[in-house]
Structures are given as C-alpha cells and as structure tokens.
C-alpha cells in the first residue's frame, strides 16, 4: 500500500501518488507530497495550490494545463499565466503534479 505518515496520521495514496481520501489533505500533507516530488514549496507554489483548490471547490473538476495557465493569468497576473512559470514550479507535468500536491484528483484529460 502506497502511503505517507503526516503528524502521526497515515494518509493513503493511489498508485500514482494521489490522495485516496481528498478530505485527508492539509498543508502538512501538501508539504510531504511535494517532498516526494522533490519540490520545496514556496509562496509561488502555494499561490497555485490555493488557485487549484478554489477552482476545484467551485467546479469539482481539476483543470487541464491550458485552463490552469489561463486561470493563473487571470487570478495571479499575466506574468504568472505562462506554462514556463508553471513548469518551473512543478516540473514535468505541472497540472498533474500541482493537482496531486493540492490534494485533488488527477485532471481527467491528463494522459
């Protein structure tokens, strides 16, 4: 079983490292999930995580990359609405990695 220990509690993950129970997310869980991706969370990461969580709260859908870029541009300013900015923060597959750390399901249209 894929799992992490955070502050004495066991948090179960699926095969790809996404939370099995989204309610188990906390900022400490995010820090631990990020550590597994070799990411040290800073203010700019948290901006994206908060953006993703409020998007999901409203629509119950994790946004695909193009939509995340657009949202970041609208909510955080144009210079942050770029794939490069997101790639720098969440290398590899930003929408997928950031959703994972934000405790959301994998974006449905993410291969």
């Amino acid at each position: 079983m894929n799992k992490i220990e955070v502050e004495g509690a066991t948090v179960e993950l699926d095969r790809e490292g996404f939370l099995r129970d989204l309610h188990q997310w906390s900022r400490q869980v995010a820090v631990e999930l990020a550590r597994r991706e070799q990411i040290d969370l800073g203010d700019e990461h948290w901006e994206i995580i908060d953006l993703l969580r409020s998007f999901y709260k409203e629509y119950k859908v994790s946004p695909a990359m193009r939509i995340l870029v657009k949202q970041a541009g609208i909510k955080l300013g144009r210079e942050k609405g770029s794939s490069l900015h997101l790639l720098r923060l969440f290398p590899g597959s930003p929408a997928k990695v950031a959703s994972k750390i934000a405790g959301l399901p994998k974006p449905t249209n993410c291969l």
Binding site: Y59, K60, V61, P63, A64, M65, I67, Q71, T108
Partner: protein, 122 residues
Amino acid sequence: MQEADKSLLVVVRHGPYQGQLAREALDAVLTAAAFEQPVSLLFMDDGVFQLTPNQDGSAIDAKNLATMLAVLPMYDVDRVYVELDSLNLRAISPESLTLPATPVGGHALRDLFVNNAHLLSF
C-alpha cells in the same frame, strides 16, 4: 495538404445520474477542449435533465453534475445546444437551464449532425 476535419459533436442522451455516462461525456468534451479541438455539445432526450437546477446526487455519493458542467465556459466550450422537443416533452423551460444552451430543432438539429465530422453519443 488538407487538414483532416476533427470537428466533434458529443450527444448526451441520458440523465445526470444514470451510471457514469454523464461523467464520461463531460470527460470527452473537456479532453477535446483541452487540446483545442472544435467541439459541440448537444443535450437531448433525458440528457436535458443534466441542465436542470437544484440537482443533488449526495444520496448516491455523486458530485452535482450541474456544478461540473459549469466548468465548460472555462474551457471555452460555447457551442452548447439543447433539443427543443426534448425540453417540451419534459415541460422544462429553456430559461431554467443551468448553462446557456441554444435550443435547436428541425434543420438546425440536422445541421449539427451533418456539419460535424465525428460523433460521440452518451
């Protein structure tokens, strides 16, 4: 070389909580939209119930589908249609729908099927 026509029509014909069909349809639409493919969405038959307000899927642990459909404008999916007869048969007024959907019937309905290269029915 001429580009292949990738235009896609997704037809939704089942109610919001009849199995996973509604979710699958939304996934297909969002996937096409995420890759900037031209996609149109048509609600007909019991599919029009997906656009009705005050849905509550909590008894079967399902997410509110109307909430999820609200994401479509974020994905720039603006070609959303609803078949007029299906609405009338179920006494649903076009004004009450949760998404701005264009009511279609007759020729406009036929054109939707004729003018899109690919069809997915859910």
